[in-house]
Symmetry: C2
Subunit: 324 residues, 2 copies
């Protein structure tokens, strides 16, 4: 079987083990996984074939470090895992392809920026007639508008993404969390749609998961559901936003209407293992697309009502000391 050398960056994030385990399940290629992280104790490192301690993405030597890793380990494909890394890779993807022949499926920098800014994104949805939470300007908010939902404009992991009940509470959250996106409070079942688009931005497949329990922004209990209407909405959405590669899209069925509020332009941190077990190995499909391998229709189909519950497990590493 063909060996594919895959670099996963920031493999210490929650997405890391999800993607590693999915790639290892492929029956069409043999992955050789190189993982990098800034933290020598990142659990994900110890699930990879090679582990490399990396400088932070915002340091000037990151690019030269990356090139060195790619060269040393003869990397074929990079899959960035951390939201914060996406702007770098969106800008660098052309160069990496031309200079080093490395494949990386990522949207263009404008799309990445749009998805990272919660205010911009909600405005974009409204401009495209896609149901979105009503957005509030802080100076217009009256005590009678509460409860509302706020999140940091460029936050992640649902840090400080919470319901607020009064102007006084809003004041407090702003003080500790910085600039906020202030939105209507949506209520109803919550869904994440794991999606994969090809290198031209066409939706390859999408799997809908209901989030049955959420901890720290990650679904820890969930089940797969099917809904052709939602898939059609997703198809339109990813084409408007111009997504390339993996993403996960979040919505709440608020008063019967799928109301979208977030796209993460990466594999999901919570429920990806459920999507894989239900039948669709998105990380493996991404690799196959990169390699131009044939994809069979049944690889794109999933079973409904598959349930997943997550819990913590562990590795006991001898911490890595290298800094390539």
């Amino acid at each position: 079987m063909k060996q594919v050398r895959i670099l996963l960056t920031s493999v210490g994030v929650e997405t890391g083990p999800n993607v590693i385990n999915a790639l290892k399940k492929s029956s069409d290629f043999t992955p050789y996984i190189i993982g990098t992280d800034n933290d020598p104790l990142a659990a994900g490192l110890y699930l990879c074939d090679e582990k490399v301690i990396a400088p932070r993405i915002d340091t000037p030597d990151y690019m030269s470090h990356l090139m060195q890793v790619c060269h040393t380990y003869r990397v074929d494909i990079i899959i960035p895992l951390l939201s914060k890394e996406m702007p770098f890779f969106a800008s660098a993807s052309q160069l990496l392809k031309e200079k080093a022949g490395i494949k990386i499926a990522i949207s263009d920098p404008k799309t990445i920026q749009l998805c990272a800014d919660k205010n911009l994104f909600v405005k974009f949805l409204i401009d495209h007639n896609i149901p979105a939470p009503r957005a509030f300007d802080e100076q217009d908010i009256k005590e009678t508008d509460f409860p509302l939902f706020v999140k940091p404009i460029t936050g992640s992991s649902s840090r400080y993404a919470i319901r607020v009940n009064s102007l006084a509470d809003l004041e407090y959250i702003k003080r500790i969390a910085g600039p906020l996106s202030i939105q209507e409070l949506l209520t109803g079942p919550e869904y994440t749609v794991d999606t994969l688009c090809d290198l031209e931005g066409t939706l390859v497949t999408a799997v809908i998961r209901e989030r049955l329990e959420v901890k720290d922004g990650k679904a820890v209990k969930g089940r797969t559901v099917k809904d052709d209407d939602l898939i059609q909405l997703i198809k339109n959405l990813v084409s408007y936003v111009k997504i390339i590669g993996p993403s996960n899209i979040q919505c709440i069925k608020n008063q019967g209407i799928y109301t979208f509020f977030e796209i993460n332009t990466r594999f999901s941190a919570g429920g990806l293992p459920l999507t894989v077990v239900a039948g669709v190995n998105l990380p493996a499909l991404l690799v196959k697309i990169h390699l131009g391998m044939e994809i069979h229709p049944e690889e794109l189909l999933y079973r409904e009502n598959v349930y997943m519950s997550r819990y913590l497990t562990e590795v006991f590493p001898q911490p890595v000391r290298n800094l390539l």
Copy 2:
């Protein structure tokens, strides 16, 4: 090998998989594990030999449900996992022993109450000359006293256990979190000591873990350390508090002084797997104590500088529907 029928209650909490996996590693008995939880999707249920959906601990039929489970599955030993359940089991332990011959190592109700109330506990430490964070009365606090540390008086999982920087912030936290224990902000390396006391309350063994990264009150990265002075302090502390069975004790080395702030009268939710891998299988030792089995000195010793990093894994259950 002797089979021991062990009931773990609320096996869906983070502690569940830790205790289950530790029991399964015993080489001195064969555990047959019955798990109960209120949530049919609790991951821990699916790691047990038998899974039972239980009513909530605060419902009137809990006791009759429990007796029925114990009878049906011929339970030898109960290990309660959830903090909220401890008052019930502390009160019921004598009855369970007499009526059904079931063993359960738990402190008496007064001790459980002391450990559950953060204000009471800090006052107790001070009364016994054990270094503890300075406690503040809300009405005496001045703007110059900040930063301070607050936590709900009877909270768990570190929900709303946070640093506060001003009177306005304190006001907000009180509004959303209810009555607070307001304490000096401790800074320094943080330790959890996993302990086991025998049925007479004598410390059997203790393992010190440094918490290298904490998420939601649980250590997700840690390492074992050794310090005879700390062990001596722990020995005194558990005897003053009159701990029976498992506990985990938290302290911060604040300006070079071990400063204690919490005892949880149960196995730990974060680092127990590290303690087990480092050499001390506390859940198995607890069972051996119950059974009167001989404990060898080397079972009480652990290796220093063993590292652990945790990440999420998953089960894909067909949700249980029984309600015994």
